[in-house]
């Protein structure tokens, strides 16, 4: 596809369940980012991949959150034992990796934990 694709668009899960959120970046983009956007706030950084490796995971809030990018393309954000406070829009972005270049965002996954 031409842009960053995120699936599912919306996800409702019960407290305590495990969820996976998927991100398909723009083809050829080496850098991939996950952000979390709570209602009425700006996005907050979670994790950054350069290729297959997590170059910076300092934004992950706790060890219930984990992300992978095994082949340097698609990435999955995994949340264990979900809590109501995890409810937010999870945004994925990719970029060519050159310093200061534009990051292209997907439409996000709205996660609701009930």
């Amino acid at each position: 596809g031409a842009g960053v694709s995120q699936t599912p668009s919306n996800k409702v899960t019960e407290k305590g369940k495990y969820v996976e959120l998927r991100c398909d970046p723009i083809s050829g983009h080496t850098a991939l980012y996950w952000y979390r956007q709570s209602l009425g706030q700006g996005p907050e950084f979670l994790i950054y991949f350069q290729g297959t490796g997590a170059a910076d995971d300092s934004g992950l809030p706790n060890d219930r959150f984990f992300a992978v990018r095994p082949e340097g393309s698609v990435s999955t954000l995994k949340i264990q034992r979900t809590e109501r406070g995890d409810s937010a829009v999870y945004l994925c972005a990719s970029s060519p990796g050159t310093r200061g270049t534009e990051a292209f965002f997907g439409q996000g996954t709205r996660l609701t934990v009930v």
Binding site: A31, Y33, Y35, G40, Q41, G42, P43, E44, F45, Y48, Q50, A55, D56, G59, V89, L91, A93, R99, G100, E102, A103, F104, F105, G106, Q107, G108, R110
Partner: protein
């Protein structure tokens, strides 16, 4: 660490008029990048305009321009000839030369009225 502050939670403007959105930031880095992103109800963040801190000339992109005051750490966005399609959330963001992730402000909700 970088911080970005948007002091206007909501703004409104009449169609065809001009509006200015404010943004201040704080950084200890000498080189960095500043961005304005637009987020319509579709949730996808769309780049509006980009400024490199070492460039003194203010960036312009069609109806959008910035007033970059490096000493004051101010980066305001001016939208000329406002259109109904400009209605959206607008986020100011910074990218440090030493970091890899965007730091976003809290956003300004802009309503363009017919």
């Amino acid at each position: 660490a970088q911080t970005v502050t948007q002091s206007q939670p909501e703004m409104s403007v009449q169609e065809a008029e001009t509006v200015t959105l404010s943004c201040t930031y704080d950084t200890s880095e000498n080189n960095y990048y500043l961005f304005w992103y637009k987020q319509p109800p579709s949730r996808q963040m769309i780049l509006v305009i980009r400024q490199e801190a070492y460039k003194q000339q203010n960036a312009t992109e069609n109806r959008f321009s910035v007033n970059f005051q490096k000493a004051a750490k101010s980066f305001s966005l001016k939208i000329s000839d406002s259109q109904l399609g400009d209605t959206a959330m607008y986020f100011c963001a910074s990218l440090g030369d030493a970091g890899n992730m965007l730091t976003f402000g809290g956003g300004t909700r802009l309503m363009v009225k017919p």
